[in-house]
């Protein structure tokens, strides 16, 4: 164990000290922050005032959307078909349709528009709807409490029971009147970004493992080392060491990106960013116990000082996202890195790797190609199977997670990924230990199979 630790330490330190690592660590967050901040900045710049027609079948939200500099709301009384027809003729920016619900309070709405609606506006609508529904729920709950004084209920429980999540689907209405779903949802962006990040990390650090193995082989140090440690220890030490480098880089990126984004958006907020008013929950606060009042207002406070977009980003469960990301990143990386290590062990130089790289890269590239499709149907059977299969699950599951995936599916995917990791490591260990002692021989798949069975 002490020796594998020494190997991990060497692999880690030699890479972290490299100039390329330091440059990537600084450039990465700047690029990522730019990709986050620039669209937000553009989206949040107040240009001409847009009018949004509201068709509220429930009647709950009439006059709840307040006009601001950026957007005006105009309430319609008609049916959806005529509203849509009128909308096409008008120069209204968008049509918000809140369908009637029978039993429960409405939790979704459809936003029709010709051009895509800015995240800013969408977040505002979402917030107003959420607050309104939560308000109504709270009211109902309070009436219930006043009639039934025997059962004391905790503040937390009340807050939990009124928690609501509102879905706003965006439909694009083309010039020809055709409708198609459009995607500007923050969770789609997050899903895509994390899927691509995993893809990128697996390739980048997997290739580093492979290059490291080839380096040891071509520099002929490998036999010196395996006279001190087992080949498997050397392989795992390298894989884990490089993985930790990747994790370090990722965490640094997250922290630095977050820091940059926070600083930049704060600056933006204080200058030219007008935040729509969102105080509405105060109405029913009188007559409550102080703890509840405080809890509600602290919720409000935490929402203040941040831009609407940041608020929208905050609706995503980041701890879960990051935990899942780290799991799928690490285990997905481990699974692939073992295969990359096996390739490195089997060949003599990087030029020979092509034929073996091909089958490994197929599932990864397929994942990225499928991502476009899966993001449109994150709960469909294709998405399910791709997010269960260990070679594609790291990328596909991360794309699905921001949309909410049942826990048992995540657990199944994780378990299979772990099994897949054990499988590839076992396989790679066999190829590796034979391969590293072979020089100057062109290896075929047949030969590799012999090593595995041997």
């Amino acid at each position: 164990m002490k020796k594998i630790f020494l190997i991990i330490k060497r692999e880690y330190l030699t890479r972290v000290k490299k100039k390329s690592f330091i440059i990537m660590t600084i450039l990465g967050p700047i690029l990522m922050a730019a990709t986050i901040v620039i669209p937000i900045y553009l989206a949040s710049r107040p240009n001409e005032t847009k009018t949004i027609a509201v068709l509220d079948e429930t009647g709950i939200f009439i006059e709840k959307f307040k006009d601001s500099e950026e957007v005006k709301f105009h309430y319609l009384v008609s049916d959806l078909t005529t509203a849509k027809e009128n909308f096409s003729k008008s120069d209204n920016h968008a049509l918000l349709f809140i369908p009637k619900t029978e039993v429960t309070l409405p939790t979704n709405a459809i936003l029709y528009s010709e051009k895509s609606v800015s995240i800013n506006v969408k977040s505002y609508i979402k917030n107003v709807m959420t607050k309104q529904i939560e308000d109504l729920k709270l009211q109902a709950r309070l009436t219930e409490l006043q009639t039934d004084k025997q059962n004391p209920v905790s503040v937390d429980e009340i807050l939990r029971s009124i928690k609501t999540s509102v879905d706003i689907n965006t439909m694009k209405i083309g010039a020809d009147g055709k409708e198609s779903k459009s995607y500007t949802e923050i969770n789609m962006v997050l899903g895509m970004v994390s899927g691509i990040l995993i893809y990128f990390f697996i390739f980048m650090f997997g290739a580093q493992v492979m290059r490291g193995v080839i380096e040891e082989k071509t520099s002929r140090i490998v036999e010196v080392i395996i006279s001190s440690v087992k080949p498997f220890q050397l392989m795992m030490g390298k894989i884990v060491g490089v993985g930790l480098v990747g994790l370090t880089q990722f965490l640094l990126w997250v922290v630095l990106t977050f820091a940059i984004v926070t600083v930049v958006t704060t600056v933006m907020n204080t200058t030219d960013f007008k935040k729509p008013a969102t105080e509405q929950m105060m109405a029913q606060k009188q007559g409550l116990d102080p703890a509840l009042t405080e809890a509600i207002s602290s919720q409000d406070d935490s929402a203040q000082g941040m831009g609407v977009v940041m608020e929208a980003i905050n609706t995503v469960n980041f701890p879960v996202m990051i935990a899942a990301f780290i799991f799928f990143f690490m285990v997905g990386y481990l699974l692939y890195a073992a295969l990359f290590a096996a390739i490195g062990g089997a060949v003599d130089s990087e030029a020979d790797t092509q034929q073996f790289m091909f089958p490994i890269t197929i599932p990864l590239i397929l994942s990225i190609i499928m991502a476009q499709y899966i993001i449109q149907d994150p709960d469909g059977p294709v998405a399910f199977w791709f997010s269960i299969f260990p070679l594609t699950s790291p990328v596909i599951m991360m794309i699905r997670i921001p949309f909410g995936v049942p826990y048992y599916e995540v657990a199944l995917s994780m378990a299979l990924l772990l099994l897949g990791f054990l499988g590839t490591t076992w396989l790679a260990g066999k190829i590796y230990r034979t391969g590293i002692l072979m020089y100057g021989k062109k290896i075929s798949y047949k030969e590799l199979w012999k090593w595995v069975r041997y």
Binding site: T14, S219, I221, V224, Y439, K450
Partner: protein
């Protein structure tokens, strides 16, 4: 006592047998030469001793007991295919390799300092390996092989890549290690270094040990009772003055003397040769023709080949 012995070790690769019931005995504090033509199985045997690969059958004994995984800390191995991390500094690298052999960081640093001083390598510590010449790299490699003061040192072609001066330093150091109590297994094609260094040898050819034992006794068995004699004052044919059974193998003449190589019958000694020749010639020198390891090597390998052919 044998420090290490292998008994009936076999190793089968998918398409050929690398070792076939090989047995060797390496006496304690001896330098043991492992000889054989390319592809004979030397490296396979060395890798088995280092527990890099496992034998299919056979027993390995180390210090009187079964060879165990943790014994690698007591073995130092300089492989034939050797190298270092090019981008790492010499010092870091030496520390790393020494720690892999089980030394603590502190102890490794202390010992490395001693050796760097001794080998006049002080200035190299912070240099990257790629900045060193091949010979310098070899020195670093040798040093990390012995740094943990192993009981058993295994050198596979240690002299390749060394200039004569450094090869000599290396030779001295191998002998010094022996003096300190280490046992050395030493695989080479360089027969002159075998004569200089080895106490015992095993000759492996085509996966089998064809010859083994102490160098002195092997030479004795390969002796053909042949003597070289230098003489003057006689112009006739040498064979005519010799009794039957004595056979002249070659004759030559230089500015000062005539020389002849004479094979004696098994029961005759050099005294008999001198006695028969003394009445006719003036003798200047008589010396026994002892076969060189090179001759023995070639003879053993080619003879074996001949036998194999007849067996086939």
């Amino acid at each position: 006592m044998d420090l290490f012995s292998a008994h009936g070790v076999s190793k089968q690769y998918s398409n050929h047998k690398a070792l076939d019931k090989v047995s060797i005995n390496v006496p304690d504090r001896h330098i043991f030469g492992l000889l054989g033509p390319n592809g004979a199985g030397k490296t396979t045997l060395i890798r088995i001793i280092n527990q890099i690969i496992a034998p299919d059958e056979g027993e390995l004994t180390f210090m009187g007991r079964k060879l165990q995984p943790h014994d690698i800390a007591l073995i130092g191995y300089l492989p034939e295919e050797r190298g270092l991390y090019k981008k790492m500094t010499v010092g870091e690298q030496a520390l790393y390799l020494a720690q892999l052999k089980g030394l603590s960081h502190q102890e490794a640093q202390k010992r490395l300092k001693y050796w760097f001083d001794k080998f006049e390598m002080r200035g190299w510590w912070n240099k990257k390996v790629e900045e060193l010449s091949k010979g310098m790299q070899q020195k670093v490699q040798f040093l990390v092989t012995i740094i943990h003061e192993p009981k058993l040192l295994i050198f596979d072609e240690p002299f390749s890549g060394f200039d004569p001066i450094n090869a000599n330093i290396l030779k001295e150091e191998i002998l010094a290690q022996k003096e300190k109590g280490a046992t050395v297994i030493f695989s080479t094609h360089n027969m002159s270094s075998v004569e200089e260094l080895c106490d015992d040898i095993a000759l492996i050819d085509r996966s089998k040990v064809v010859l083994s034992g102490a160098v002195r006794s092997i030479k004795k068995t390969f002796k053909t009772n042949t003597f070289g004699i230098s003489f003057n004052d006689y112009d006739g044919a040498v064979q005519t003055i010799l009794p039957t059974g004595f056979q002249v193998l070659s004759e030559s003449r230089d500015a000062d003397h005539r020389h002849a190589e004479i094979k004696l019958p098994a029961e005759a000694t050099s005294n008999d040769l001198i006695k028969t020749m003394l009445p006719f010639v003036t003798i200047y020198a008589v010396n026994e023709k002892i076969p060189s390891m090179n001759d023995i090597f070639i003879q053993a390998v080619t003879q074996k080949t001949g036998q194999d052919v007849t067996q086939d």
